[in-house]
């Protein structure tokens, strides 16, 4: 414990999470997720527009009706996959963090991080219901 009091880098009573190491690991995860999603999105949109340049710019995505995009369906499927990877990236960040706090025995932060995961899951349900 430093002279200024406890810090985020000090471990909890007991082992505690190595915050620096977790931070680096999360950075790698975030980068991998966002780069792969960007590739999928770029390819998907290019293919979609290439297959059907007459598409309206403001047409919305219905995940249950991807086949209704006609000839551009392969492109929109790739684009939807890109969105899925992009949205999964912060979720994966939360899951990895949850596991790290659980392994370190920090039950209070396991609860905090689990609550975030519950809210994200609720968002999916609310969108489907609304």
């Amino acid at each position: 414990m430093s002279a200024a009091g406890p810090s985020a880098q000090d471990p909890a009573p007991g082992p505690g999470v190595d915050v620096s190491r977790l931070s680096v690991r999360l950075g790698v995860l975030l980068r991998a997720g966002v780069v792969s999603s960007a590739v999928l999105l770029a390819l998907g949109v290019a293919l979609t527009v290439g297959l059907d340049p007459s598409l309206p710019i403001d047409r919305t995505l219905d995940l249950g009706a991807l086949g209704t995009w006609g000839v551009s369906t392969p492109g929109i499927v790739l684009t939807a996959l890109g969105f899925a990877v992009l949205l999964a990236t912060p979720v994966a960040r939360v899951v990895v963090s949850l596991a790290a706090f659980a392994r370190a025995g920090e039950r209070d932060f396991v609860g905090i991080v689990a609550a975030v995961l519950v809210v994200l899951f609720a968002s999916v349900l609310v969108g489907l219901w609304a």
């Binding site: 009091g5 929109i76 960040r93 994200l120």
Partner: protein, 287 residues
């Protein structure tokens, strides 16, 4: 023609990405007005597309800040509960409640109010000359939220104490609602909350905000996506463009001064306020 429009959207997104990564924001304050005013997009669709892109901005920026030890993970997770709940609520309000001509006008005016309030928070921070030193807070002690700013070059590492956690949580909830409601990351509330209220150094607050806005935006974006409200031909180039913009922005972050970053923030928000008020009053798009 469609290809040209997509290129224009891509360019807008790159500019937003640069600003977003520099300021700990998601770029939504640039993207939403830009899509509405320059490309004539419905504001609800612009908000949905912006939230998708904010996730890309967050991941791109935060991955770089992680290597530099600038992420205050414990505080970020702690505040994320509030911002995620807020993001969900805000998205429901926009997607379900604030629809039609009246709802749309209300959205524009709320955008202006939120932006002006954020400017006030940053100005208050600026007048104090930077980070406050909050009074001791047992909540911060209990949850081990105090931190240490890593050293850079000849500047040694500097521990700091975090305070006013309850106020920070409340403001984080507001930031989350603003995020889901308006397609912004909420960093315009989170960063001043962490610096002006809680005592976190600006660069760490900005970096931590960059991480947090990913989850905040995801909470809202998941609502829009499952609700069928995301325009993929807009959202995809916006996401790719903002990611490219953050690549440039985070490289500038290391050399930009905290005061300069906050001044840029004020200028950007002021421009956004002017345009959104004009739009709310019935000024048509440029496109």
């Amino acid at each position: 023609m469609l290809a040209l429009v997509l290129l224009g959207i891509l360019f807008l997104a790159v500019a937003a990405g640069v600003l977003g990564s520099l300021l700990g924001l998601g770029g939504g304050m640039v993207i939403v007005p830009g899509l509405v005013l320059l490309f004539g997009l419905d504001v609800h669709l612009a908000i949905a597309a912006s939230l998708i892109s904010i996730i890309a901005t967050s991941a791109g920026s935060a991955s770089r800040y992680a290597r530099r030890g600038l992420l205050h993970l414990r505080l970020g997770f702690f505040l994320e509960v509030a911002t995620a709940v807020g993001g969900l609520l805000g998205a429901v309000l926009t997607a379900v409640v604030l629809v039609g001509p009246v709802g749309t006008t209300v959205l524009f005016l709320i955008f202006a109010v939120v932006a002006v309030s954020a400017m006030g928070l940053v100005l208050r921070d600026l007048r104090r000359g930077g980070v406050v030193e909050p009074a001791p807070d047992p909540v911060a002690d209990r949850w081990r939220l105090h931190g240490e700013m890593p050293g850079e070059g000849s500047v040694p590492a500097r521990p700091f104490r975090v305070g006013r956690v309850r106020e920070g949580l409340a403001l984080s909830l507001v930031a989350g609602v603003a995020s889901g409601l308006l397609g912004i990351g909420g960093g315009l509330y989170k960063v001043p909350a962490m610096t002006g209220l809680m005592g976190v150094p600006f660069k760490m607050a900005s970096a931590t905000s960059s991480l947090m806005i990913g989850v905040t935006a995801a909470a809202g974006a998941l609502v829009y996506l499952t609700h069928g409200s995301v325009p993929p031909l807009v959202a995809a180039p916006v996401a790719v463009g903002t990611l490219a913009g953050t690549t440039v922005g985070t490289r500038l972050h290391a050399v930009a001064s905290s005061r300069l970053l906050r001044m840029v923030f004020l200028a950007v928000v002021l421009v956004a306020v002017v345009f959104m008020v004009l739009r709310g009053l019935g000024v048509t798009s440029v496109a």
